[in-house]
Symmetry: C2
Amino acid sequence: MTTQEKLKQYRDWIFKCSAYRMALNIIGIDKQTVAPSAGAAYRDERSSYLAGELFSLETDPEIIALLKELKDDPAVDAETKRAVQLYYKSVMDTMCIPKEEFVAYQKLCNESFDAWILAKSKADYSIFEPYLKRVIESQKKLYGYRESDQSVYDQMLDDFEPGMTQEKYDAFFAALKERLVPLIRKVTAAKQIREDFLHLEYPVEEQKKFMNELLTYLHFDPSWGYQNESEHPFTSSTCENDCRTTTKYIPNSVVSAIFSTVHEVGHAYYEHDVDPKYDGTILSEGISSGMHESQSRLCENYLARTEAFWRYHYPKLKAQFPKQLGDVSLEDFLKAVNASKPSFIRTEADELTYPMHVLIRYEIEKGLFNGTISTEGLDKTWNAKYKEYLGVDVPNAKVGILQDVHWSDGSFGYFPTYALGTAFAAQFVHTMRKELDVDKLLENNQYDVVMGWLKEHIHKYGCRYDAPELMKLVTGEDFDVNYFLDYIEEKYTKLYQL
Amino acid sequence: MTTQEKLKQYRDWIFKCSAYRMALNIIGIDKQTVAPSAGAAYRDERSSYLAGELFSLETDPEIIALLKELKDDPAVDAETKRAVQLYYKSVMDTMCIPKEEFVAYQKLCNESFDAWILAKSKADYSIFEPYLKRVIESQKKLYGYRESDQSVYDQMLDDFEPGMTQEKYDAFFAALKERLVPLIRKVTAAKQIREDFLHLEYPVEEQKKFMNELLTYLHFDPSWGYQNESEHPFTSSTCENDCRTTTKYIPNSVVSAIFSTVHEVGHAYYEHDVDPKYDGTILSEGISSGMHESQSRLCENYLARTEAFWRYHYPKLKAQFPKQLGDVSLEDFLKAVNASKPSFIRTEADELTYPMHVLIRYEIEKGLFNGTISTEGLDKTWNAKYKEYLGVDVPNAKVGILQDVHWSDGSFGYFPTYALGTAFAAQFVHTMRKELDVDKLLENNQYDVVMGWLKEHIHKYGCRYDAPELMKLVTGEDFDVNYFLDYIEEKYTKLYQL
């Protein structure tokens, strides 16, 4: 076969895989948003079968041989080579797993997700525990098939953030702890900021009206995006012109759905803005979880928590909720949405305490996979760590160990990227603010211009480069956690007049 | 192979087909409800590929041989034999089509649907016309592959209502015309019923609040059902515990969404109530389009337009819309929702003029396939028929020829079953009312008991029997159009005091 013939076969294979992936994607979004619960077993059995068909396609020996040849073929251009390498790694990681175990694991994850939904609704960890245990055991077994001298958890970390290890994360979290823990202590001791008005009764129907305005401001256009509701907000894209997000309305929180929306739409932009020539290929995905999270948290924290953002939005929000916010000034509102207060819920945590939520999950995951922590009584372990790091008493499992979806479908090693991405974002914003008057744009209803900068400098590349390469390309420097720490220290020192 | 081994292979095949069907189903629902429009081309290309995979599965020569053997195997039980026969007929009808033509046709239908959406939004038939033309040409070609001595349109009629032909429908519609046309004339000449209050401003948000109560009354349980919104209301089921419906809210109509909801939920009950042992097989589907429509129109017309139904609901509706309905009595409201008035929109037509809407479509379809009517200028043909049969001037294509989705995806021969199903329903209701105090149940919030009767006598059988068999089983008689005509004549004679 000539290189051209090989590339034709390669592209046909990508197309076929993308068809199954699209189907599983839409079935997954449907499941997490609107699908009737009693039909879950029927659907899960069949989507497991389709996942098995995709698995067979992905691990076709003829394709593996083809990828191997293309990988070393000098006639293949650099972009295609990058894609081939990523596919090859992914296939090798998958093909080592016997198909029946892979299918069984997919089925287990579906059941585990259903158990998590039920357990969370009843605030009863014991309903979820047996599934969590089985998911972990299965993951250990499945990773055991890989040819690697890394520990299972190191391999998981690498899957979400290529190149990262426990050693590197330990150093990263140590740097965070060193400067954040004393700062948290000072903030906790300082005069507390009034924020009771954020948690009055805010009828969901009224929140939805404001949301329509917000989505318009974000230019989250219905031609390429759609927002639904789900238990845990998420973003899932079928292609660059089909990016779905969800949010969750909380009747006694006026900002929860707003920040979760800006966050998820930040993810959606990353998927939407990738160069169209990569659509449907592995290069259309974000580089890594951390890089993806850097974009969502950039939007949520570095844009939507600024004074400029609220100069535009606060009058509208106040008009929607005159009873609740009538006597609250912009200044007080802004302080409240930036206030730091140790809490139970990661997704609602402030920027200062957020990394601690992630640290707790990281330590538990390490323990679960290194054998020092058991799933039995894990709710108690969880609560103890919250007491230790954040000084809070978790009242029940619903707002404790059952709050996040991630473990129900076996996504271990994912959480740490949340803290890493937040730190990436600080460095990107530092560069962006040198080139762009971000505040003026936010205040003047020009969110699209800010997104345009991110598209041009970050999003359009998709997965063309790896995270360290991209960081250097965009900021001219290697990743440096101090951008984040400087930002946080300055922000909270000023806010609490420390 | 033993019969048992053959049956195992047969059941594996059913499972695999059902997985692809489920995926295409969910992708289809998604497309018609929430999927971002700019992603359509990407998704359509991939769902066409998956439809092609299903096609290959369904027309696998090994399976055709297997079905042929099982069909004639005396060791196969009667229920399985019925299913095998239906599969065999379906496979033979499909397998005669070259796969690439089948895939191309699926793609054309997707494009045609998109064109119809656009055309309807712009009230511009010329956008849709080239697609309609191509869909008809393709259908003629695809049906030409079948070994049949029937005309293409007769084959289409038979696909939706096995056993029906143009000859039989001509006789059916002649019977309707004979008694309905003079009745319509009398009603049109009689004193008109006041119904202006139905068409005031009814904010959609308020309509949705009433809808929540209605769905509860209907026992449309979120564990097995979900209602969304779409351009054209529809029902689509993945399995018996996953039945989706949609509705469409019209800001200046208080009852449009209500009746469309009761109608679609009627379809959903038919899918939900089938004996669980048939789930995932061809026997889980309704017998025919006419039989399916009999259940939806039974709910819409014979239940939801009764005094008993509104004795329960009207006080609640009035409480939701005090400004609009405050001075309207139950008696006047009931008269209004049953009033007969020739109009443009089939789905909003009253019971008396509805069959005329269907007749117009039937005559056009016959003409399109028999070559006496062309797609060019078809909007004018449509308008002329509306003038002739209903005396109305269609103001634009949006409420004229573009109002229905059916032709956009090639569903010709479907419309006539709407009128037939309505007539089936009259005969079923005649029997049901002998055994059940329907009015008392409707007024006492016991809709589930009425549905229970339908489940026990009709729904649970799924496709186990054919339509004439089931009619005899339920009512003890052959189908007789006079049950419908007697009902209509009595109702409208009384309503208009003729």
